[in-house]
Structure formats: C-alpha cells, structure tokens
C-alpha cells in the first residue's frame, strides 16, 4: 500500500489535487480510506493516466469510458467463472452445452 504522494510520484505529471479529484469522482476507490492505494488502485491510476494524458480523453468523457470498461471487465470476470465451472463438468455436460450454444448461434444467424 502506498500513499497519495508516492502514487503521484509514479505518474508524472499527475498532481495530488488531480488524484483527489478522481477519488471524489469515484474513478479511483482507495483500498484504505487513509487514503492508501493497493496494486489494483495503482494499476487503475496508471490506466486513467494513460487515458487522460496519453490518449487525451477529456475528464468529462472519462466516466463514460471507465463505466464501459468496468462493464466489460465485469462480464469477462463472470464469463471466466462460468467457463471455469463448465470446464470442471463431465464431457457429456459440456457436449450438451456446446449443442445448446450452437443452436442459439444458428437461430441468431437466421434472424440476421
């Protein structure tokens, strides 16, 4: 866990005031209220810095991008759990699922 100043030092030109503003807006949710930031927070700040300073996404648009990213990662996490659970099933169960999925894709193709 690291504090605000150490975190900002990692990501010039990030200022402590900007970081606090991001925390206020909910972009970053420190692991500890102190505030102290864990590895996931650091990685997320790095991502927001990339989006803002490198890719030049304005602050107004950041919540849109972050919300979409959070949704993508939510889905991927859930999908990962589902696939891990399916992978533990016996072959017959997997085969049945495969059949059912192929059927859905078939009917989707027909609708298109």
């Amino acid at each position: 866990m690291i504090g605000e100043r150490e975190l900002c030092a990692l990501f010039a030109p990030l200022q402590v005031t900007t970081l606090r503003h991001w925390v206020d807006l909910g972009f970053v949710r420190p692991a500890d209220a102190a505030p102290a930031f864990d590895e996931a927070d650091v990685a997320r700040v790095r991502l927001i810095c990339d989006l803002h300073y490198e890719i030049r996404i304005e602050e107004d648009a950041l919540p849109v991008v972050l919300s979409l990213l959070d949704q993508v990662y939510d889905l991927r996490r859930q999908l990962g759990q589902l696939l891990a659970a399916v992978a533990e099933q016996p072959t017959e169960v997997r085969a049945r699922l495969q059949l059912a999925i192929a059927g859905r894709q078939e009917s989707t193709d027909h609708d298109a």
Partner: protein, 320 residues
C-alpha cells in the same frame, strides 16, 4: 525492435505534432486495458511506447537519427520496466472487487443475450476439452450443430443447405418424418484428424419448429377445423388444409364441436424401409357462431330452445 518510424507509421521528416498524433491513435487502438481479450496487445503497445519514447523527445530523436542510439537504445530506461496492467486485476478480482459497476455482479447474472462469444466457447470446447488426450494420430473430434427445420419439412422431408463451422456448405437431406430432437450424423464432416487419421463427424440435432395450426401425434397429425353453424347442423363439403395440400372433406349432418374426422394417409409418411401405411391427419371440428348474430338467428334459436330445452354436459363447471 523495428524502426520506430515504421512502428508509428510516420515518415522520417514527420513533425513532432504528427508523431504525437500517430502515437495517440495507435495507443488508443492497442492499449492492453482497452483490449482485455487480446494477448498480443501488450507486446504491440510496448513497441509503440518504445518507438514514441525515442521519437517523442526532440533530443532522443536527434540521437537516433544520427545513429547514436539504436531502436532498442531507449528500452533500458525505467519507463520500460514490466508494466502491471489494470486488466490483470480487473479480470482476477473476486466477488468483492472494488471496481465493479454498480448493479452488476452478484447472483443475478443469467443470460448473456445475443453477444457473440463464440471465440470463448471454441476455446473452452475445443482447446481445453481436447487437452489431456494422448498424442499420435487420432480421429478428429465430432462437431455438434443444431438446425431448426420447418414443421412441414420435417414431416415431408427436405434438403437443407447448411453452413458448416469451417465455412463449407453442405446439402443436408432431412428424411421424411424426422422427429424433434433427432440427431443426424454426417460422416467425416467434423474436425480433421491428426497425422492422417480420419476426420470426426458432424452431429446435427434437429429442432422442429412448431406449426401454428398442426401438431404431431406419433405418425398422425392433428388440427382444428372451424365450421359454420349451418355446416355443423346440415352437413356439407368444406376444404381442409393439410401439409399435402387442400383436401375436400364431407361434414356429416349433425356434426358438433369436438367431432373428429379422419383424412386418411395425410399424416406422416411411413418410415423408409417399412411397408406400413402413412399416418392420418385428424381434424377436430369447431363450430363457430357468426361474429355478430343478427336478430332473426337469435330469435329462431331462443324460440327453438324454449320449446326444446337442453343442458350440455359439463356446463355446471368442473367439480374439484
């Protein structure tokens, strides 16, 4: 490492502004956290960053142009330390992961909608499922499909052109009388075998789409046939639709709702190789009153009922 100018797709005399724009465009496209499923994005992004580290700084760019540093020269700086991308945390986070979108997560995650997740499923059912099998020549795996066919096609038989997973199309022969849920096996249309072994089969599970009027009952078909009050009372000839075309049908005098009439041989054909007869099509009559009975009809019927009272069975309601 490739030439940084090539990496960013700019000419050697590009302005600092053009280089910055090219870098941002590529970073937007290849940022690993914006491409969570793409394993190659990380390496690509690193190359773009490496190129920009050189060309984005006036002094370094001059040294590179003068041949003082090579394209990898800048890669020893602290900015090239192994990066910890956000996606690593976001994908592995548990149920209490802090950056879940409000409202998402939890047990209410049923239904993936129509999203195209086929790549993921191929991975699961192809690669992972095949793992652990012995090496050496082995027969290709079977591939499963589901095909929905029209009710009439399943009864009468048809040829369907289907697209296989590998892009081939195939004319699939649907035998007459096919039942919902039956599986057709197409020899050698599955995954190719390894080291000369035969290919697997394609297994096509048939789903028969329901018919709006006709339902199947073994080898027979059943449907309802609406008739007028006059046809029911006085008898007459009406036309009934069957899967084999319209058929003239004689309604006996005094027919009623619920009367069942048989159209011989208009059901499901006998299975191939059997000498048995084809099934029949049964129609159940439904007496339908005119939409707006006029006064004459109402008066005639009420007068008649006053003189001939009758009580249909079951009109007292169903007893528990």
């Amino acid at each position: 490492m490739a030439d940084p100018y090539q990496e960013l797709g700019v000419s050697r005399d590009a302005s600092a502004d053009a280089i910055r724009k090219a870098y941002r465009r590529l970073a937007k496209k290849h940022h690993p956290d914006l491409n969570p499923g793409d394993k190659a994005a990380e390496a690509k992004f690193k190359e773009i960053q490496g190129a920009y580290d050189i060309l984005g700084e006036e002094a370094k760019r001059k040294r590179f142009d003068a041949g003082e540093i090579d394209a990898t020269g800048a890669e020893t700086g602290p900015s090239q330390a192994e990066r910890d991308y956000y996606r690593r945390h976001a994908e592995q986070g548990g149920r209490d992961f802090r950056y879940q979108r409000a409202g998402a997560g939890g047990p209410d995650t049923g239904g993936f909608g129509e999203a195209d997740l086929s790549g993921v499923f191929e991975d699961l059912f192809g690669e992972r499922a095949a793992r652990g099998q012995a090496r050496g020549p082995r027969r290709g795996g079977d591939v499963s499909y589901t095909l929905t066919v029209d009710f009439a096609d399943a009864v009468k038989g048809a040829t369907k052109r289907v697209a296989m997973a590998d892009g081939k199309t195939l004319d699939l022969n649907i035998p007459a009388g096919l039942q919902d849920g039956q599986v057709l096996r197409l020899r050698s249309q599955g995954r190719p075998g390894s080291e000369g072994a035969p290919a697997g089969d394609a297994l096509v599970e048939i789903q028969v789409a329901p018919h709006p009027q006709v339902r199947r009952d073994g080898q027979d078909l059943r449907s309802a046939l609406p008739v007028t009050l006059g046809e029911a009372l006085g008898g007459g000839t009406v036309t009934a639709e069957t899967l084999w075309g319209p058929v003239k049908l004689k309604i006996p005098k005094g027919a009623n709702s619920g009367t069942v009439l048989r159209l011989r041989g208009k059901g499901v054909p006998a299975p191939k190789g059997s000498d048995g007869p084809a099934g029949d099509h049964f129609v159940e009559l439904q007496v339908v009153l005119p939409e707006e009975p006029d006064e004459t009809l109402v008066k005639a019927v009420t007068d008649w009922e006053a003189a001939h009272p009758y009580r249909p069975e079951g009109s007292q309601g169903v007893r528990q």
